[in-house]
Assembly symmetry: C2
Homo-oligomer: 255 residues x 2
């Protein structure tokens, strides 16, 4: 299927050849993937828009009321990391590190004041994301930016899967693992505001540009809300798997 997004068609072709896979059969010379530095599949987005408290049970576990409309906050591109990249946490962010597995949306076509029914036409594809958070900075500032947008706090991967290959973005299982332990197991069916509603809503305030990334919120199970808390420690590996999209896995180093 041609999508009408030139970038999506290039993406489909690349994915089809398997050239991005370590075991791909695209022919030509092969290089052990360990010798390569993988880059995040989204480069220099003009914005990384995030939605807070978009799953009822996550709002509950956070001890706050579910928002009446999408609660928007920001990350910047310095936070992006690829699947497999080591996240070196800036040493001034203290130990209260937490994971948040999420479905992320890549915008493919400029969106301004779009309705819900046309919102998904502006999506290039989907990617798994980890909305890494330093809870002390997030909550002590009040404004979430510093605790959410430190260097490396937005791993995304493994690749952008074209929207045409995702039958229903509201029916995807999201599983987050801290090392081998499953810590989040939810579904995008449980979102309070759907992908289409988020895009439509945001586009009434901020023009969305091709390449922009939207993180759509996390299901319950985050570390700070557990009793006792289960926070990310030096050397831990966090893996976020979104059904039909793939996994983004990152070792976290606190240096």
């Amino acid at each position: 299927t041609e999508s009408g997004h030139p970038a999506a068609d290039v993406l489909r072709e690349a994915l089809g050849t398997g050239a991005w896979r370590a075991d791909g059969d695209a022919g030509g010379a092969t290089v052990p993937v360990g010798d390569l530095e993988l880059l995040a599949p989204v480069a220099n987005p003009s914005k990384i828009l995030c939605v807070g408290l978009n799953y009822l049970d996550h709002a509950d576990e956070s001890g706050v009321q579910a928002p009446a409309k999408p609660l928007l906050f920001a990350k910047f591109p310095n936070a992006l990391r690829a699947d497999g990249a080591v996240v070196e946490v800036p040493k001034d962010i203290s130990g209260e590190l937490d994971y948040e597995g999420e479905l992320a949306v890549v915008i493919g076509r400029r969106a301004s004041h779009v309705g819900r029914d046309e919102a998904l036409d502006h999506v290039l594809g989907y990617v798994a994301a980890n909305d890494l958070s330093a809870r002390d900075a997030q909550f002590s500032d009040g404004q979430w930016l510093r605790g959410k947008s430190a260097d490396g706090f937005c791993p995304v991967g493994p690749v952008v899967v074209p929207a045409e290959d995702v039958a229903d973005p509201q029916a995807l299982r999201i599983v987050t693992r801290l090392n081998d332990q499953v810590v989040q197991d939810g579904s995008t069916a449980e979102m309070i505001f759907s992908v289409a509603e988020i895009i439509s809503y945001a586009s009434h305030y901020m023009t969305l540009e091709p390449g922009d990334l939207i993180l759509t919120g996390t299901p319950p199970g985050v570390g700070f809300a557990r009793k006792p808390p289960l926070l990310v420690q030096n050397g831990d590996v966090v893996t976020v798997t979104v059904e039909g999209i793939g996994s983004v896995a990152n070792r976290v180093l606190v240096v």
Copy 2:
């Protein structure tokens, strides 16, 4: 003087020729400035970092305690507008529009974990900025992004003045006018956290990239804190003048 910033040297040369001025003497063909669309002097910054409540009297008038460290929040590039551009406020942001005149910093050299003493070496130059804010969205969301980063909410101008031409960024008068009325008249001497402190602090969490913009906070006199409130109305012109930098003036249309 050569600054060591190639971009700054180009900037100095262009400013020197007066080519950017309507009355410039750079020679060549001239075009009435009214026929041109002026662009913001900063294009596609990877981040627009803002500092909240960075003047004691503004924190006081806002009814909150002055922060113990710089309070960081975000705008995105969709908010940028040039001097003279009309700001068309998205119609879903309601009427509680407010001005905030600020000194803004343009980063010229990557900054990560820099100390205060070396922080200003990373500055390309300075520009005047208006941190336009929709108070209802800002305060009802709690997170300030939507109320601060709507399309057009970050006019900057008139040009980036090279750091070498600004003797002391902590001794600049900032005057904001709403139409002809002076509504803010402060000085960067009154900042709680200096430009150097802000850059050093932020760089310990987020790598600052060339072209990044930092809005350093607003002096007292904002509209929502006045009794009675003095908010920006359809058709008003807001002009922010920073001593030694120049003015950014924008008509605000609520459509």
